[in-house]
């Protein structure tokens, strides 16, 4: 277990994987299975409402260990070009880019409206509640909703695929011991 998570305990500053540890046969043989009984993978939320559609990204494991030794630096290029990684990255970006644009525009719009158009913001809606109050509470609400949506999206659409990539990458880096970095 210790070798499979490749955690360099007090290892070199920027070394990307636990290259100090010799690879154990079991870890090399079962890179896929190693993930789920790993202590670093938090079991609590992993079983929650995994929707059928949102399983592992690109079921094909990414880059299998190449027959010849590759330099550690090339491992990351290889993984970066793999289809599974690009799928994880595009899932992340497809959520984050519109979400960041949206909430940032909504916040800036709110601040600009509050400072430049107080008349509009003071427009009463119901009782003591006016547009400004609704917009302010709307900021709180949208923050909570986006947080929930992001956490759910990451849990269902990214976590599993990212974890598989993590182990595969670490196996590859371990195979490429002695390389740069």
């Amino acid at each position: 277990m210790q070798s499979s998570n490749g955690r360099p305990r007090g290892g070199g500053p920027e070394s990307p994987a636990g290259s100090q540890e010799p690879p154990t046969p079991s870890a090399l043989g079962a890179p896929d299975g190693a993930g789920y009984d790993d202590p670093w993978y938090d079991a609590l939320a992993s079983g929650w409402g995994e929707s059928p559609g949102g399983g592992p990204a690109g079921a094909v494991p990414p880059a299998r260990p190449a027959p010849e030794k590759v330099a550690a630096a090339d491992v990351y290029l290889q993984v970066q070009r793999s289809q599974a990684f690009q799928e994880v990255r595009s899932r992340y970006r497809r959520f984050v880019v519109p979400a960041v644009t949206g909430f940032f525009a909504w916040y800036v719009g709110y601040v600009v409206a509050a400072t430049t158009a107080p008349g509009l913001m003071a427009h009463p809606v119901v009782g003591a509640v006016n547009v400004a109050m609704l917009a302010g509470l709307g900021q709180f609400l949208s923050t909570f909703l986006l947080t929930w949506a992001y956490a759910r999206h990451a849990r269902l659409r990214r976590d599993r695929a990212a974890l598989e990539l993590r182990w595969d990458t670490q196996e590859l880096t371990r195979g490429a011991r002695g390389g740069a970095s």
């Binding site: 990351y76 302010g136 990451a154």
Partner: protein, 530 residues
């Protein structure tokens, strides 16, 4: 305030100090002295614990007393101010928390330096991190001194000075002996106390109005003397156009600065995985959002129950609104309930300051030892000696903060918190985002991004009305004011991003494709994360 309040508040506060010192002793009893232990508390905190600790790190006395005071005096504009503090967490959650956890070890500079030539980048990022921390720290230290004067009615110079010294000494003890583990537990205890106190007061306010929020607002508006204008923006930030742009600048700094605060970034290293980092941010957003919502109730409650005139009479900035509200809710100045509630609020405010300063001191000692010392002194050192440097740095920063806190005691330093956020947003955020997301980013771009945000932010403040040229300035006697806004964010944040871009496109260095691939793969998958 009568003697009863004082002695009970002091008693409660001593209890908090005793508990936190107990935690520190208990934690440092079997410490290992490794860098992992000192900076990151062993990285084995749970998301729930870390979520509370982040909330404890973030909710300062300025939020607890300051924002509710602003609402009590200026109504809606206080709420407007508080929104930025919460929305900022979306930037942290979406763009920073998980990726930083995956790529870095202890500090912001780790993330950037992994892709670049290490030395110049570490020196730049370390310098800006220490600058942000010191600005924030001085604001908290001066705040601690004046808080004592406000809450205990001891306005004497000596009492304020001793408070600053005492707070500084305690934070040095927490950080240098207990490291991240003790700091985290202190923040958790503080977050629980602060939220507990806030929930109790909020419930009491709502009970007073029979759960009718509408009537609470109407009463507050009535009592404020402003009528409906109290519930709409404009009373504080709606003056001339300078004031309006000033608020936009502040809002921008708040929403972008949180993701660049070193003491917030360092909290993500205390959990084992990026997933845990994400879940701790989700917890903290829930806690911080709930806290600010309750602050709104407390602020309007103080306006409705105590009244803005009484609040202003006690402290012109409104910082005593919540303590006065507590006194009233408990049954008045001479009742037992009032005494107890007032003392609880005072003790919670002290606890808040102590926990926040400990977190900042720890983060800045990490920047000094891990980034600056390691780069400037090219000595061969084991991780153990780096921890020794960090402990020494914590003592040094603590002493410097005490000295600055004493020097700035009589100055109006309320702008420092906004300035710390502006510097963090101008100097730390551009370099962080570029490193994580821009393939072509180079070393020169990174260095320019940091200094291109840091220098303009500080220079603009030096030329702004908070330093000279107006009666409320630091130096009212002289006038070298050329920049109209109190907060430089509106100008310096775009400058930071621009400088990073300019440095990159003008540098001869080829961006390292492999290093970028490594950062990208590591940040999104966690491969090779420590």
């Amino acid at each position: 305030m009568t003697g009863n309040h004082q002695s009970l508040a002091l008693l409660l506060f001593s209890a908090f100090v005793a508990v936190t010192l107990g935690i520190t002793t208990w934690v440092s009893r079997n410490r290992h002295g490794s860098a992992e232990e000192f900076y990151a508390g062993g990285r084995l905190f749970s998301p729930l614990e870390n979520g509370f600790a982040i909330a404890g790190d973030y909710m300062s006395a300025a939020s607890f007393l300051g924002i509710s005071g602003l609402i009590a005096l200026f109504g809606y504009d206080g709420l407007l101010y508080s929104v930025g503090f919460l929305v900022a967490w979306l930037v942290v959650l979406f763009l920073v928390a998980e990726l930083v956890r995956n790529c870095g070890r202890f500090t912001l500079a780790d993330v950037v330096a992994a892709r670049m030539r290490e030395r110049p980048v570490r020196i730049a990022a370390g310098t800006s991190s220490v600058t942000v921390s010191v600005l924030y720290l001085v604001a908290q230290m001066v705040g601690a001194g004046s808080l004592v004067a406000l809450l205990l009615g001891r306005t004497s110079e000596a009492a304020q000075a001793w408070t600053v010294i005492g707070v500084g000494a305690l934070m040095i003890v927490y950080v240098s002996l207990g490291g991240m583990r003790a700091t985290t537990w202190i923040q958790i205890v503080k977050a629980v106390l602060l939220l507990g106190g806030t929930v109790a007061l909020t419930v009491l306010v709502l009970v007073r109005f029979h759960g009718d929020f509408d009537r609470l607002l109407l009463t507050a508006a009535d009592r404020s003397g402003h009528g409906a204008a109290f519930l709409a923006p404009g009373l504080k930030y709606g003056g001339d156009w300078t004031a309006r742009f000033d608020f936009m600048s502040l809002g921008l700094a708040l929403v972008l600065g949180t993701a660049g605060l070193p003491h917030i970034l360092s909290r993500f290293y205390t959990v084992p995985t990026a997933r845990a980092a994400r879940r701790s941010v989700v917890w903290s957003i829930g806690l911080i959002g709930g806290f600010y919502l309750m602050t709104i109730v407390l602020g309007f409650g103080a306006a409705a129950i105590v009244g803005p005139d009484a609040v202003r009479g006690s402290n012109a900035a409104g910082n005593t609104a919540v303590p006065l509200l507590a006194l009233d809710l408990g049954g008045g100045a001479d009742s037992t309930g009032g005494t107890v509630l007032f003392a609880v609020v005072a003790a919670v405010a002290f606890a808040t300051i102590l926990a926040v300063v400990a977190g900042i001191t720890l983060a800045s000692s990490a920047s000094v030892a891990h980034d600056l010392y390691a780069s400037l002194r090219r000595r061969r050192g084991t991780p153990r000696s780096e921890v020794t440097v960090a402990r020494t740095a914590a003592v040094g920063i603590g002493v410097a903060a005490i000295a600055l806190g004493l020097l700035a005691r009589d100055l109006n330093v309320a702008f420092l918190v906004g300035l710390a956020f502006a510097v963090a947003a101008s100097a730390n955020l551009p370099v962080l985002l570029y490193s994580l997301f821009w393939r072509g980013f180079t070393t020169r771009g990174a260095v320019w991004a940091v200094y291109g945000g840091l220098v303009p932010a500080l220079a603009l403040v030096a030329l702004s009305p908070v330093v000279s040229g107006s009666p409320e300035s630091l130096f009212p006697g002289v006038d070298f004011q050329y920049f109209p806004l109190q907060n430089p964010g509106l100008v310096s944040i775009p400058l930071g991003f621009l400088a990073g871009w300019l440095g990159t496109v003008t540098s001869a260095e080829e961006p390292d494709e492999a290093k970028h691939a490594e950062t990208e793969v590591r940040s999104l998958t966690g491969a090779g994360a420590v």
